[in-house]
């Protein structure tokens, strides 16, 4: 062991293991930062589990609960509480803002307590029961936004309330981990007075039950059998699935990014170890000569690397711990629950990853060292290490694959990532190999080669080193892809998202206009000189059958399709297609026919075709009609869009509300405030403010993710670096030989430059292609955006490749030329 410590110190000093150590530190830091953070969040969830639901069982519905359900809770001797949730405008004086309203029965919650404070920043305490009638409790964010002191009055719809307390904690807060609209709690019986729950409002109805576990379980089973579409039951086991799902998704995303860093680090470790082994072959042969046994050599190197691994892992964990605090801080106000301190478990996870990387990628080539025959000291050609990378790294790749699947928490996702990464490496290497051979054999290259010796040699080298160069180009391209993705593509995505709203786009949404108010609202606008907005009728209906076959969530595999089917559709009616819609297939319906026009995207998602017969249920009634046209919409127009439009004759008799999108110019705010005062049931959404709020949340998320991306970026750069130094020794030797045989400095540098330039170009183009492809995939699949091709990326990518390798050519040429050829050759024999 002492010997191993000494050897590590010597190798460190000689710079032989620094890249390896750095790669390990990056990998471990990246994994642990996410793991520490995830650990704290999940511990918070566990800690709060008992009051997460506010009850033992929660029933949620998007329409009022059937009476029998509520009665059954009481009949079985369980406690029962109720709540209604919806979004609405809260107004105080001249200011108004969106609030997430929760109207509760006095005994809410059945488990846990609401906590309130008499004033902002004052000490809080548990509330004995919900708000008294005529009063509301506001979350502090809302108090600030509205500027209402305690005791002031606040308007919600047509009713007026007194602000009685600051809400500091509510059960089900898990729901609000990532919530945008701040909470307002009021008494359930005050809801009718507000006039806010009307046709077209999106309202969630909650039933809470608590009691003896056996009785709860029995009721749970009973209730599940009677659920209608749009209803579900949450218990402690299923634990607010939608909360868990969103947090899980965020964590999985962070986790996969962290693993990307780890994979890249693995590549850097593999490259670094290969160079290490090549440089230590002679040393091993000498040691064998001096009597070192194979076991001695193996344990020596294994101990050295283990030591290196432990030190690097410890450092990585420490950095990860610091970074996770930064992730938490970046998420800031989004995390509304105080997180408990992290457990030491994630450190173990990080160390495990480090050890797997080291064992998987460093040990196999190291084992070759022990097999170096001693006779190599006399005959150099003996005992070159096997170059069959595939066999050597199979263990590493398999171990890493296991880790990925584990981290992704889902075999399919994990395997997709591994498969994608593996395919990328293979494709990169194959394309690089072919491209380099092509470049060197191209007629134009031959013509150029005839004129310049340097060029001829450089291009010949491309062919001679084809395999080694292909590996190097693939590694380079991989590292560069990561760098390009994290710089250009990321910015492009953010820009595309920002640009998606045109400057003259509507900036206000008006929701919940009742049919009898339509004419009045129009007059209101006209009287104030604001262009009368187009009011579109909206009927909420649930899809029940397609071609006579009943529809259930289970019919669809895609998450988005399931969501669409599960929810109520916003249907509309009109005589002509909206101006910003375009019929792309079929024909617009006849005014009195039982026909529909649907949006092409949703038709594709749900598998609807022209001629399909769809049936919708609206309230207790239903209607059916045939799809006769597909429409293309511009979602980013910020105008009101509908998936399904029917002729008025078909829908006009169903209960509808009207919605509108319009543009309010500066100076019209007063008129809009007046509109809300006059029609308190309307919800006016300031898109700018809402986008700003959402943007704030997204910025915080991006900040958090950026920390993890930084690690991936670092790992990518390490791959770049180790790919470049991997062949440095060999190139120096070749250059020395050329000089010995009379090549001028210019010829030596020229030939290297030609070779590197071609490699840089190929690597740069490959990386650009990779980044562009991944960018498009992200844009379409994840963000649902159109990402225009980025000229900057296409210029910067290849340039970056060329620049990097030119720099490398320059540096290595300097090294080669600064040393005398004799010395270089003597070093290398």
């Amino acid at each position: 062991m002492r010997q191993a410590v000494r050897m590590l110190a010597r190798d460190w000093r000689a710079g032989e293991v620094r890249v390896l150590a750095a790669a390990l530190v990056v990998a471990v830091a990246s994994i642990t930062s996410v793991a520490f953070f995830a650990d704290r969040v999940s511990r918070a969830l566990v800690r709060d589990a008992h009051q997460l639901l506010g009850a033992d069982l929660v029933l949620v519905s998007d329409h009022p609960w059937q009476r029998e359900m509520a009665d059954e809770i009481a009949r079985r001797g369980l406690q029962r509480a109720e709540a209604v949730n919806f979004i609405s405008m809260a107004r105080a004086g001249e200011s108004s803002t969106l609030a997430g309203v929760k109207a509760v029965s006095p005994n809410y919650p059945l488990r846990g307590r609401l906590r309130i404070a008499p004033a902002p920043n004052a000490p809080d305490g548990p509330a004995q029961q919900g708000p008294a009638r005529g009063t509301v409790w506001l979350e502090e964010r809302l108090v600030t936004a509205l500027g209402v002191p305690m005791g002031a009055s606040l308007k919600l719809g047509t009713a007026e309330f007194k602000v009685a307390a600051v809400l500091t904690l509510e059960p089900e807060r898990g729901t609000n981990f990532f919530n945008i609209a701040p909470r307002l709690v009021m008494h359930q019986d005050d809801v009718p007075a507000t006039g806010l729950v009307q046709t077209g409002s999106r309202v969630w109805f909650y039933l809470y039950a608590a009691g003896e576990p056996a009785a709860v379980a029995a009721f749970d089973a009973w209730a599940r059998e009677r659920l209608e579409r749009g209803q579900r039951v949450d218990n402690l086991e299923s634990g607010r699935p939608e909360v868990r799902a969103s947090i899980d998704r965020a964590q999985r995303f962070l986790g996969l990014t962290a693993l990307l860093a780890a994979i890249l680090a693995g590549v850097a470790i593999a490259l670094g170890t290969r160079r290490y082994v090549e440089r230590h072959l002679d040393g091993c042969a000498v040691m064998r000569c001096f009597g070192a046994t194979q076991r001695q050599l193996l344990s020596l190197y294994a101990a050295e690397f283990l030591l290196l691994g432990l030190v690097a892992c410890a450092l990585g964990c420490a950095i990860g711990y610091v970074a996770q605090n930064a992730i938490g801080a970046a998420l800031g106000t989004m995390l509304r629950a105080a997180l408990p301190p992290a457990s030491p478990l994630p450190a173990l996870q990080g160390i495990l990853v480090g050890v797997v990387l080291l064992l998987g990628f460093a040990l196999p080539p190291l084992v070759q060292l022990k097999n170096v025959p001693a006779v190599r000291v006399i005959r150099r050609e003996a005992g070159a290490p096997s170059t069959s990378a595939l066999a050597v790294y199979a263990a590493g790749v398999a171990a890493l694959g296991g880790l990925l699947v584990w981290q992704a928490g889902d075999a399919k996702l994990g395997l997709t990532v591994i498969g994608g990464f593996g395919a990328a490496v293979l494709v990169f290497a194959a394309v690089a190999w072919a491209a380099l051979r092509l470049v060197s054999a191209a007629p134009v290259a031959r013509r150029l080669g005839a004129r310049s010796l340097a060029l001829r040699y450089g291009l010949a080298n491309l062919r001679r080193h084809a395999r080694g160069n292909a590996v190097q180009v693939a590694s380079l391209a991989l590292g560069l892809t990561a760098v390009l993705l994290l710089t250009f593509t990321r910015n492009d995505l953010v820009d595309a998202w920002r640009r998606s709203a045109p400057p003259d786009a509507p900036n206000r949404f008006l929701l919940g206009v009742q049919p009898e108010q339509v004419a009045e609202v129009r007059r209101f606008f006209a009287a104030r000189g604001i262009a009368a907005p187009e009011l579109n009728p909206m009927v909420r209906g649930r899809l029940v059958t397609v071609n006579g076959k009943p529809v259930t969530e289970a019919d669809y595999g895609e998450e988005r399709a399931k969501r669409l089917v599960e929810r109520e559709f916003n249907l509309s009616y009109a005589e002509r297609p909206p101006a910003h819609n375009q019929v792309v297939a079929g024909r617009w319906f006849a005014p009195d026919a039982r026909e529909l026009s649907v949006e092409e995207g949703i038709a594709a998602t749900l598998g609807w075709k022209l001629g399909d017969e769809l049936a919708f249920a609206v309230g207790g009634q239903r209607f059916d009609a045939r799809v006769t046209s597909l429409r293309k919409l511009r979602w980013d127009s910020m105008k009101i869009n509908f998936f399904v439009i029917a002729p008025s004759a078909l829908l006009a008799d169903f209960p509808a509300s009207f919605v509108s999108a319009f543009r309010a110019e500066a100076g019209q705010e007063a008129a809009l405030n007046e509109l809300i005062k006059r029609f308190p049931n309307l919800t006016l959404v300031d898109v700018g403010a809402a986008v700003k709020q959402a943007q704030g949340v997204i910025d915080q998320l991006i900040n958090a993710v950026q920390f993890v991306f930084l690690f991936a970026l670092g790992a990518g750069l390490l791959v770049l670096y180790s790919a470049l130094v991997a062949t440095e020794d060999e190139r120096r030797r070749e250059a020395a030989v050329m000089r010995v045989y009379g090549a001028s400095r210019a010829q030596v540098t020229g030939s290297q430059r030609a070779e590197f330039l071609a490699m840089g170009l190929v690597a740069g183009i490959l990386a650009t292609l990779g980044a562009a492809l991944i960018g498009q995939l992200l844009a379409r699949r994840v963000f649902e955006l159109d990402l225009p091709p980025s000229p900057e990326l296409w210029i910067a990518g290849p340039l970056a490749g060329v620049a990097l390798l030119s720099l490398n050519a320059w540096l290595s040429a300097r090294k080669v030329l600064s040393a005398s050829p004799a010395l270089t050759l003597r070093d290398s024999v």
Binding site: Q3, R6, R10, D11, R13, A14, E16, R279, D282, G283, A285, V286, M287, R288, C289, F290, G291, A292, T293, Q294, R295, Q296, P373, A374, V375, V377, I378, R379, L823, R826, D827, V829
Partner: protein
């Protein structure tokens, strides 16, 4: 015989290096045996041969074979450390002083001249007090002056340590300084 110096001479490709590799047990013969320090080399497995080498054999190579990442001192310490000696550093310093490099212990091979590098290699070879010292063209990479100095040192240390020296060379005057000369041609001893 202890203290004896044997020169192996012959043209290129005559089998000098192969013989040396066989003597050290670095290579295995298709037939025949080598007895070293009472042990029949090829009855031992690879690791046992290595262990025997570590105990009884020293090497000097034409290309020095110093490890580039180690200082002169550390290069000399290496075989001592492999043999598990606690006094590796002191012993290495002492012998480096004997070859006249007391002032250059912390230099890396690339900062030493060829002659100095071969003297470090000599110090390394003698550090473990081997019974047999195998030298493969020890002056082959050196100019005449440095070569003479290294050879003088080699013979002097060989005498003092009572080591058996086997020297592969095609330098006839150098061969003449040895007590016995073995001439090889096409893999056979001709004289």
């Amino acid at each position: 015989m202890p203290g004896e110096a044997v020169a192996i001479v012959g043209a290129s490709g005559s089998g000098k290096s192969t013989l040396l590799a066989l003597l050290a047990g670095l290579d295995t013969p298709t037939a025949g045996s080598v007895v070293l320090d009472g042990a029949s080399l090829f009855d031992l497995d690879e690791d046992a041969r290595a262990e025997l080498r570590g105990r009884a054999v020293g090497f000097v190579f034409q290309t020095f074979q110093l490890l580039p990442s180690l200082t002169a001192l550390e290069n000399v310490m290496l075989p001592l450390e492999l043999a598990g000696r606690d006094d590796a550093e002191a012993a290495a310093r002492e012998i480096l002083a004997r070859v006249g490099l007391a002032e250059r212990t912390h230099h890396y091979p690339k900062h030493l001249s060829g002659g100095e590098q071969q003297r470090v290699a000599l110090a390394r070879a003698f550090a473990v007090r081997p019974k047999l010292l195998l030298a493969d063209e020890p002056t082959g990479s050196l100019d005449a002056e440095a070569g003479d100095a290294v050879i003088a040192l080699l013979f002097q240390m060989n005498r003092e340590a009572g080591t058996t020296l086997v020297l592969v060379t095609h330098d006839e005057p150098l061969a003449q300084r040895c007590t016995r000369i073995v001439r090889l041609a096409a893999g056979r001893i001709v004289a």
